[in-house]
Point group: C2
Chain length 413, copies 2
Amino acid sequence: MVVLKTSTPPVPSGNKVNNGFPYSNGAIKPHFTPSLNSFINLDQGDPEVFAPYWRKKSEECTVVIKGSDLMSYMSDMTNVCWFMLPELRDAIRRLHHVVGNASAGMDKHIVVGTGSTQLFQAALFALSRSSDPSNHNPINVVAAAPYYSEYQDEVEVLRSGLYRWGGDARVYDKNEEYIEVVTAPNNPCGSIRRAVAMARSEGDELGKLIHDFAYYWPQYTPITEEYDHDVMLFTFSKCTGHAGSRIGWAIVKDIEVARKMTRFIQMSSIGVSKESQIRVAKIIGVICDSYQKIGSSLQSDDLFFEHSKRMLRERWDKLRAVVDKSNIFSLDKYPKNYCNFTRQNSETYPAFAWIKCCGAIEDCESYLRSLKVYSRGGKRFGVDGKYARVSLLCRDEVFNEFLTRISNARLQV
Amino acid sequence: MVVLKTSTPPVPSGNKVNNGFPYSNGAIKPHFTPSLNSFINLDQGDPEVFAPYWRKKSEECTVVIKGSDLMSYMSDMTNVCWFMLPELRDAIRRLHHVVGNASAGMDKHIVVGTGSTQLFQAALFALSRSSDPSNHNPINVVAAAPYYSEYQDEVEVLRSGLYRWGGDARVYDKNEEYIEVVTAPNNPCGSIRRAVAMARSEGDELGKLIHDFAYYWPQYTPITEEYDHDVMLFTFSKCTGHAGSRIGWAIVKDIEVARKMTRFIQMSSIGVSKESQIRVAKIIGVICDSYQKIGSSLQSDDLFFEHSKRMLRERWDKLRAVVDKSNIFSLDKYPKNYCNFTRQNSETYPAFAWIKCCGAIEDCESYLRSLKVYSRGGKRFGVDGKYARVSLLCRDEVFNEFLTRISNARLQV
């Protein structure tokens, strides 16, 4: 059962933290400039690192919405997802075609959601036995640890009779139906994942899969494959950094699953903001144009994914240099892979660093807090407190201050 | 328990209807022009009647959103509802001050949601014992019949262990905790409501209230009172007709309730579209300016609420004239009341007509369907099938075609 938590670190000077999203009376404003005395917040993954790129493209991506535009609940009544603007559906198909990360052709159904958070819950509803009133066995929802810290809360928040949290997929051994959430690259640790519970029960049809591909974009990881799974979730927040728009989408094979997901979103919020939909369609169009116009005068750094990958690679290079000299922190290495999109071999540059504390430090989150850095501890992800997740998507000055703070930290040997 | 329904009328020629929101292969497009052979859809309340007004104000209400605007998850970390733009919060307070329909001063907390649908569920979460893991008694959610057709589905969709549907508030007599939803003016029937289950149990503290004030705006009903209840829900969809924006808000007295509602929306969708928030703030600003600049050259019909009230009054006058001559249909009368906003005595002009079929016709929805009119039958609202709800917010040509169809219908005596 979920309890309202104020779980993340107690903040000094009367500030409160609301389970990851702190509200304060001044100390942790999103646009503060860090000083020696202020906390820096690397708990959430607010994707500020991409903002300078979009400032350069600001005019090109501008949308103008008039007073009488986009007023109806409905968008396209011939489509299963009747509240999705056709412009957005087409833009999403085009983006996947350009990037090559997922199969989103005309044989697939696209369902738009208020972020992929809403779509995750819509998928749980659609894959559970929601249409069978006589069923009283909630389906187990599992994910391999370390798993995204919010899955468990999102599954448990309403104490649903349709589904329940089943814990770590690696140790799941019930002879009951389950849904495995596969996050690739994984949040928090950046590893490339495949289903694990599924693999054990192959052929027994007890398992269903949700693939959360929030970070399967070229800036974070090589695009090694055009995925074609039953239910694949994406979010614009992590694709381009436009988190305020709250736009996610699912690519769904089975029309009945798409229909049930749509029905869930109807009951949850009667659709999805059209202003956000039209803006996201516009920005995706600008990105796709920039790639499809290649041979034009665009430099590689004018291209969103190349620019963003360079930003993340530079941060990872700096972070690894600091960690290599540290006797406190360590980081895993990621394998190199050929990226079909950039046509280069490349490492993974995850949005988060999954930092392990060495030696006697048992609680990495608390240790980082002693350095006035908010992070999210391993226990939230179903593993050891020696780990903590640190966002690398912050602004430059915050990232640099973070490096300074961890550089200065030394264990007395 | 809720089952996925395809409940509303079976549509000819292969069309399917998705529990009120039909998707079709052509016959029920939102902007079709009715012909003798086409169905007209008055099942949903898509507020198209207000669009011509906003076309006149289109330039004045235009928002321009640049590529790098509104990118963060966060808006105002000093506020309980940390994802709400301060511009929207201030606009909402100003609007209630101008209209005088609800107390929204600085002592109240505003929580923004993806439509009031999401806020209704956030309020259920906040008023249930969600923070007590040892509680296994779901709270009963009741509403006086006829009640809004979606409440029951929204309560039951996930088979929550926190709350369950308790049916008609008028006959609720359990000695258990409950939440009563008070919809005023009521959807479907337009009557002004006060709590009824609450009244019986006064003082025993078993009951909590949610006031759904979606239609408590001057175009629909006289503003007789500045309400000041614990949890009051509003939606921009019905206030101005901008349903595609999916913006609702709650005015909440207790900070802990506001905090839990915010937490629910965080887990449901990590906030609310900022594009929609900024646009709604702009449009509210234009409305409030038009009233606060009075004495200027604005004619009454340039003012949104006056214009919209005239539109609805004209429709009601025409509808009553037709129904008065009918031997099939009847409509209730609404009392006149003094409106503090318009400073006139006025009837209620609800967004929906709650039509009763006379005599031998037991199923009003089916009868209307035989006239090729989609409506929503009384059983969906917890009452007799002799009633059906018909949207009066459609476009002029659809409304006029509806009048023609019901004028031509006569029972053979």
